[in-house]
């Protein structure tokens, strides 16, 4: 009964033995009575009575048959609570869930900060997310692909606190109608938010010296059927904004070809851009997605960027030429102004009955570059203007046609690119002005390209096998024009045919293929057998030559995946394909590509035959939190042309080729291991690569084998073993070995060691110290040390951060990078950003 005499039913009554364990027990009846017998041979019995809502009572009674009354004191009993700790990683079939709170450190602000700690996932320097060694194919937020591959914008701005879990879907087939009909090797990533919400982050910072600013305002809206990310960013603190607009997935979007002309530039350091990037960048981006009731998605993406970059430093290049060693020593000060605009409008319907996707996009860019260079006291000015327009439309329709799946793909890309390079005073007087000096030289190049790819296919399912016959037509039309003019004295001269190009390159490839796909619970196998006919016509109007060539190509490919256990799977792929180079390899008139590089090639169509084999094993164990991937690949390329660069004593390079079959062989092995120790919140990652290439080159009319070996070892660990201290340590070593014929060059290496220490002295204070050490060994060697610190004070429930940052505390001046290749040694000294201090405020919405 209780203290007021009310009888207590359903109380536990237990007899304890001397070890305090229960030897007998019963429960009180409706009227509070109980009977309890014991066989214990002791004088005094310890009886414990417990009941929810009462304090436990311990009663000592003599050990004999008796009736006794136990009185319990009423109390709001506080139970010892146990908080649900979901495991950090859950595996369901092909989906792996990473619980964000298990990996989040105190100082992590964006979701990218947390993702980089997750075992099995790696974030590369450009922001690309790699899962088990392969880049992810899609970046979804709450299941919607808002950014179409430009996911840095979300990944680097979305507050980690808004995210509940990060999911990786292995072998994700994003097209619903193709599920279990068409194999996908790709993994996709989904960011699952805690709730549909408006979120985002903002950051405003100022600093010295010179005057610095850093602004980033990125609001985001995530609703069930509508999402939007907008962003306005501007800085001159070395934050590279172009990455926010980079497409990081392999998409149907065509790449923008690299420009043909350039200003002589410095090798950019292989360290974080905010150490060296001297910039003034502005960016605005708007991304919307709306999902309608009938499962149609409409997406709009707009991005605009304006960026001024400056670089200064020194280049020292040694070229091994048949005529001896040429040394070039250049002081460089470059300035470039890049304006870029991209827009795309996309409509997508992705249901089990229909897949329809149409993407229309345009990219416009302009680069104005200005290079001041002095070589052996001789000043040279370079001016480059390049304008780029790219328009493209891609359409994909997949639907049922009777029992078949009908798949139509069409993509058209148009590129237009005028470029002008002016060099003052003129270079290569021997070539352009019979040895007399030139005031200036001006090179114009104009490229237009039209590329259309169309295909139609049918997929028919027979039990576990799906067959896909496909037919298609690819078409390319390139036009390549160039002209050169020089100014000597008062006269301007436009050079003749030897310095002009007017080339039309037409390419037509009809093809037919049959593909098969087999899926069982263990196996996924895809086989494609395409026959393609490639027809080329190259018309060189300056030479008045026309060549035609047709080539029949059989390009089979086989991909297989075997799931040995739930945790282990094997993948392999084998393919044989052809590559026919590009028009910039077939022009015949001289082009001044940069102030010391004048090139021509003699027009013949290159034919490269590529044999590629790959095998890999993936292991993931979500219980012991270990992820392993091991992959090896072999590539053998047979080229019909052998290129030869002849460099004269002034450094002028001329590219020629001979028809001579030669083989290039490369072998790579990659090993990645990720392990997470949940108890001590520690994550360890290892990444290593071994690469070997062997190619044949012509050096002074002699064919020699050039062998390169690459070894890379990267180890990183991060730990949060107490709530006061976090440590991140990563080391990376890269060895490079080169052998020409039997001559072995000196092994060169680059090592970097990064140590970051986070200290959280109080709840609101956070201190971070970054120490970076770089060591370069080779023809020259150097050691460099950088120090950065950050102090952060967080206040309020909304986690507003006040930050003070100091970068490059050691005030290192130059970064020296060394690039060795078979015939060149290039050392670049790049001027770094000086010691700077910024202060700012950062808050999530």
């Amino acid at each position: 009964m209780d203290e007021r005499g009310t009888l207590i039913p359903n109380a536990n009554i237990a007899i304890l033995d001397k070890n305090n364990t229960i030897s007998a027990f019963t429960f009180s009846d409706h009227d509070g009575s109980f009977t309890l017998k014991t066989a214990l041979a002791v004088d005094t019995l310890a009886i414990k009575a417990t009941r929810l809502g009462f304090e436990a009572g311990l009663f000592l009674v003599p050990n004999r048959s008796q009736s006794t009354q136990l009185v319990l004191k009423e109390s709001a009993l506080k139970l010892q609570e146990l908080t649900v700790r979901a495991p950090p990683i859950i595996l369901r079939k092909d989906t792996i869930d990473y619980r964000v709170s298990a990996f989040q450190a105190e100082g992590d602000r964006t979701i990218a900060d947390v993702i980089k700690r997750m075992p099995g996932i790696e974030i590369k320097e450009n922001g690309q997310i790699v899962y088990q060694g392969n880049p992810i194919d899609k970046y979804y937020i709450n299941g919607l692909d808002l950014l179409e591959g430009r996911y840095n914008l979300a990944n680097e701005n979305l507050p980690a606190a808004a995210v509940s879990k990060v999911q990786v879907m292995e072998n994700d087939q994003p097209i619903k109608i193709l599920k279990s009909k068409v194999f996908s090797e790709k993994a996709s990533l989904n960011i699952q938010l805690k709730k549909v919400t408006t979120t985002g982050s903002a950051k405003v910072g100022v600093g010295l010296s010179p005057a610095l600013w850093d602004v980033n305002i990125t609001p985001m809206i995530f609703k069930r059927s509508f999402q939007a990310i907008t962003s306005v960013q501007s800085n001159n603190t070395g934050t590279d904004l172009s990455r926010q607009l980079d497409i990081l997935t392999k998409s149907s979007q065509a790449n923008i070809p690299a420009p043909a002309l350039s200003i002589q530039s410095l090798n950019t350091p292989s360290i974080s851009p905010d150490r060296w990037l001297d910039n003034r960048s502005h960016l605005a981006s708007l991304n919307l997605i709306k999902k309608t009731r009938n499962q149609t998605e409409l997406k709009l993406g707009l991005g605009i960027r304006d960026e001024v970059q400056q670089q200064a430093g020194r280049n020292y290049t040694r070229l091994l030429t048949p005529g001896g060693i040429v040394e070039i020593d250049e002081q460089i000060a470059n300035r470039s102004d890049t304006k870029a605009l991209n827009a795309n409008l996309l409509i997508e319907k992705n249901t089990e009955r229909l897949f329809l996707k149409n993407n229309t996009s345009g990219q416009f860019g302009q680069i104005d570059g200005d290079g001041k260079l002095s070589r052996n006291q001789l000043q040279t000015d370079q001016q480059l203007t390049a304008r780029q327009t790219q328009l493209q439309n891609s359409l994909s329709i997949i639907t049922h046609a009777g029992k078949q799946l009908l798949n139509i793909n069409s993509r058209t890309v148009y590129n237009r690119r005028p470029e002008t390079l002016a060099v003052r005073p003129g270079v290569f007087p021997d070539l352009f002005n019979a040895g007399k000096s030139l005031q200036s030289i001006s090179q114009d190049v104009f490229t237009t390209e039209l590329d259309a790819r169309n295909s139609i296919s049918f997929t028919r399912q027979f039990a576990r096998v799906a067959f896909t016959p496909m037919a298609g037509l690819n078409f390319q039309n390139h036009q390549f024009e160039s002209a050169m003019s020089t100014q000597a004295g008062d006269s301007t001269r436009t050079h003749g045919n030897a310095f002009r190009n007017d080339l039309k390159y037409l390419y037509l490839a009809p093809f037919a293929q049959v593909g098969g796909y087999y899926e069982s619970s263990k196996w996924q196998i895809e086989l494609n057998l395409p026959f393609r006919m490639y027809a080329f016509r190259v018309s060189d109007f300056t030479q008045n030559s026309h060549q035609k060539q047709t080539q029949l190509a059989f390009e089979p490919s086989l991909t297989a995946r075997y799931r040995a256990t739930e945790y282990t799977d094997f993948t392999s792929a084998l393919s044989y394909s052809y590559d026919f180079g590009n028009p910039s390899q077939v022009y015949s008139g001289f082009i001044l590509r940069s102030y010391r590089n004048v090139q021509k090639a003699q027009g013949a169509v290159p034919v490269n035959r590529i044999l590629l084999g790959r095998i890999g094993i993936n292991y993931k164990n979500p219980l012991s939190l270990i992820f392993i991937n091991l992959a090896g690949s072999v590539m053998r390329i047979i080229n019909n042309l052998q290129y030869r660069t002849s460099i004269d004593s002034t450094g002028a390079a001329e590219l020629t080729f001979v028809l001579n079959n030669n083989t290039q062989l490369s072998r790579d092995v990659h090993l990645g291991i990720g392990k997470y120790f949940g108890g001590i919140k520690t994550s360890l990652k290892l990444n290593s690569d071994v690469g070997f290439t062997r190619s044949e080159q012509v050096v002074t009319d002699r064919q020699v084998a050039v062998r390169n070996r690459n070894y890379r070892l990267g180890l990183s660990g991060s730990t949060l073993f107490t709530s006061y201290l976090g440590v991140e340590l990563s080391g990376n070593t890269h060895f490079f070995q080169n052998r020409v014929a039997d001559q072995r060059q000196k092994t060169s290496s680059i090592s970097q060691l990064l140590l970051a220490i986070d200290i959280y002295p109080g709840k609101a204070n956070a201190l971070r110290l970054d120490i970076e050490r770089y060591a370069t060994r080779g023809s020259a060697s150097q050691n460099q040390l950088y120090l950065n610190f950050r102090y952060r004070y967080t206040f309020g429930k909304r986690k507003i951060d006040l930050e003070i940052r100091g970068t490059n505390l050691t005030n290192a001046q130059n970064y020296l990078s060394i690039v060795n290749s078979a015939f060149t040694i290039a050392e670049s000294g790049f001027r770094l950003r000086p010691r700077q201090v910024t202060t700012g405020v950062r808050f999530p919405f």
Partner: protein, 272 residues
Amino acid sequence: MLRFACIAFLMLACEFAIGQDKVSPIVSYDITCTFQLTFYPDSTSTIPKTESFLLFINQEQSLFKSQNRYLQDSAISASSDRADRHNLIAFLQQHRTDFDFNIVKHGCNAIQTTDRVYHDYFSYTETQGHLQWALTPDTKTIAGYPAQRATTEFGGRTWEAWFTEAVPVSEGPYKFCGLPGLIIRLTDAKKQYDFVLNGLKQSRREMRDTTPLNVTKTDKRTFFRKRDEYRANPIGVAEQSGVVFTSGRSEVAQRVQQKIKSDNNPIEFFIH
């Protein structure tokens, strides 16, 4: 086709639930426990599955069900709007469960189980004194609670339970109870079913009784017989209840049989 049948079932489930929701009484619970079950539904396979379960406890009664079943029931009663139907079905598909039962204990001698065979619901009670515990002197600390070991026979398996006096409720996962403290770990001797307490929260939680309205009261023997009948001929039972297969009947039958074949190791066998 099977998928369609599943969706059809889920929609049916919504109809039931939405229809009955307004009249069901509200029960408030004081303690919420979470258990993680690791089990082998296929005794021939070495691949385990896991599922989370919730045990709600108050002074008078307790309710035990799988977390996904709980989420499904909550989602169904929360979405009255028909426009939400599509989202609801997607939600239900994301939160599938292998355990559809609701187990309500009014003390350890009045245990009522509501469970599903195809889409009919049945409820039955356990015979009194279904658990005969044998206490052992073994003790250890599990999840921070001092625990003592006890064993019993039930449903064709020998079970080992670790209970703690620190939580003075005579409760546990599944149909297990009757010890002088909460069962925090429960494992059968073959280690095919293993419940581990991984959460305990003491706070008031009000809940609607979400047991379906059209429950047939029966006894345990009849329920197990019905279930065996369904497992022997799932397509027949489906057709009896009005499902018409327009095409691919044999394919569906094959797949359903395959699924049932791999689900051969239930937590409880009926002992005559």
